[in-house]
Symmetry: C2
Subunit: 327 residues, 2 copies
């Protein structure tokens, strides 16, 4: 059975939702969970019938969200440091962490190392579209990119779509301010030309294409990716807030909302990031899944399944093989 | 009375919504509309009682959306060329056009000229937030910006917020991937330092801050601005599409939707860009309002009111004065 190292105490809400997520995942599929943290706090949370799937790795410190990512290399007693070490030492195949994402990325890159021909790893995330999901990368690891970075992100995204999302011929697009080849900033115009070498590259895509189901993988720098993620979250929140305040204004609309409860629930579930688990860090050896600091147990459960699927696949080898074709 | 030049035939839907917008505006506030286009087509659309407010400027050609903006300087018989000429010659105070925005911007910049100390004009647009609106600039004029451009956009946005939106102390923010000063790409980190000189600058803002009512003016390069605009439009469309398909699945939810009709209508109205009119081109002499190619009559009516308010203000002089303080 696969060993997954779980940073059990790094998230915003402490150990409870993390451990609860592990329990939920175990109730669906068996695996060996190595919980990294203080075992005296963690042990009482595990039901007896699951104890056989759980091991503990002692770590007494938490790397806080306020600290600078660069400090993490010195913090050898933190949960995230010890979790990454488990993978480095071959004791676990993957890490799931809802802790400081910058620190996780730094540790993963420096301790586990980058794949061959990858200059910089990327954080990839799924966003819902009207049909299925769109994979976007990078969403935060690299604020200033070069053409070669965007090219490598495209290859990593393509292989992730094929190997993990089971899309045979994923549509890869480059984020730009217009569909035409002539549109873009200096970086994307140059990247567009190089990306034409990729058979599944379909050209530029605009912001709206993330949601209309016309693309599978969107490539952008981490600055733009992060901004898209947060803007879109902001729009969705604002829409629900405005609608809620309108609904409150009359009894008839309150009744209407009651009748629509099920539809609203399904919509919310459809666009809820917690359903998607975490964001894989692509381009490093082994598997690291970065979960949102505010992850609930569902998000952790889904992140664990992502980690298992990733680790059981051959994705890193396929990325290296694919990139070697172009070098 | 003020003279406004209207590109009467440049939009995606021809002359009808444009002329209808002029008629709607005239029914609320008198002004002199100079309709630029083929008078034989336009005249029959004007009700007799409004004829006294209308003049015609003959222009037999339309600059199509497919053409390259740089070509427009040679196309002296197009509606947009003639409309800008009317302002240049002092025959009109402002232009409203739903035609090719790149062409309008090129013509305005080259024919009317930039304000003193402005290196590049910017397109500014309003987006709804849960309280009022957020002004975002640039949303498309400049895909690659320098620090000085972002600084000038901030000043122009600040003055627009004060003079046109009547916000005494507008909160100016810089779009970034995190609120902390240390967050950003190379461009924004440097721009942040320079923008600190502006008393109303409140620091970095993230994508979600556009919608939560915490800022009044958001500064970004035109590549990011355009991507935000289109992504957010995409999210809103997707949310309504998913909800609609959920509602269709049961009779109870269909009834619920019926009872919520009024709330949905108000929400849609609140987030509908047609309510906001057009996007002012800031940083050029005189006033040019760029409307969406798909503008309906409401959008044109609102764009005309924007043009009147802009032209009756002293905004361009105030921008020049403000910028001279920093040079």
């Amino acid at each position: 059975m696969i060993n997954i190292a779980i940073d059990a105490m790094g998230g915003d809400f402490g150990e409870k939702p993390i451990v609860e997520g592990v329990i939920q995942a175990l109730s669906i599929k068996p695996f060996n969970a190595i919980l990294v943290g203080q075992s005296e706090i963690l042990k009482p949370l595990i039901p007896q019938h699951l104890e056989k799937y759980i091991r503990y790795e002692e770590a007494n410190e938490i790397f806080s969200m306020e600290e600078s990512a660069t400090e993490v290399l010195k913090r050898k007693e933190t949960t995230i440091y010890k979790a990454i070490e488990l993978v480095k030492e071959g004791k676990a195949k993957a890490v799931v962490s809802a802790g400081h994402s910058g620190a996780t990325m730094s540790l993963a890159t420096l301790k586990l190392g980058r794949l061959k021909n990858i200059s910089r790893p990327a954080i990839a995330t799924l966003m819902p579209n009207i049909k299925t999901n769109t994979l976007i990368l990078d969403v935060g690891a690299n604020t200033d990119c070069k053409v070669e970075n965007l090219f490598q992100f495209a290859i990593m995204g393509e292989i992730y779509a094929k190997e993990i999302m089971n899309i045979q011929k994923p549509k890869i697009a480059l984020l730009s301010n217009g569909e035409e080849e002539s549109k873009g900033n200096e970086l994307t115009k140059e990247a567009h030309q190089i990306m034409k070498k990729i058979p599944n590259f379909i050209g530029n895509a605009e912001g709206r294409d993330i949601f209309n189901g016309s693309i599978d993988v969107l490539v952008c720098d981490g600055f733009n990716g992060n901004i898209i993620l947060k803007s879109c979250e902001g729009v969705a929140t604002a829409i629900f807030q405005i609608l809620k305040s309108e609904i409150k204004k009359s009894l008839i609309s309150k009744l209407g909302a009651l009748l629509l409860k099920n539809s609203f629930y399904k919509l919310k579930k459809r666009i809820d990031w917690q359903e998607y688990g975490g964001a894989p860090l692509l381009g490093i050896n082994d598997c690291v899944i970065i979960s949102h600091g505010k992850s609930d147990s569902r998000a952790i459960k889904n992140a664990i399944f992502q980690a298992i699927k990733f680790s059981e696949s051959n994705i890193n080898q396929v990325i290296e093989n694919e990139l070697s074709k172009y070098s």
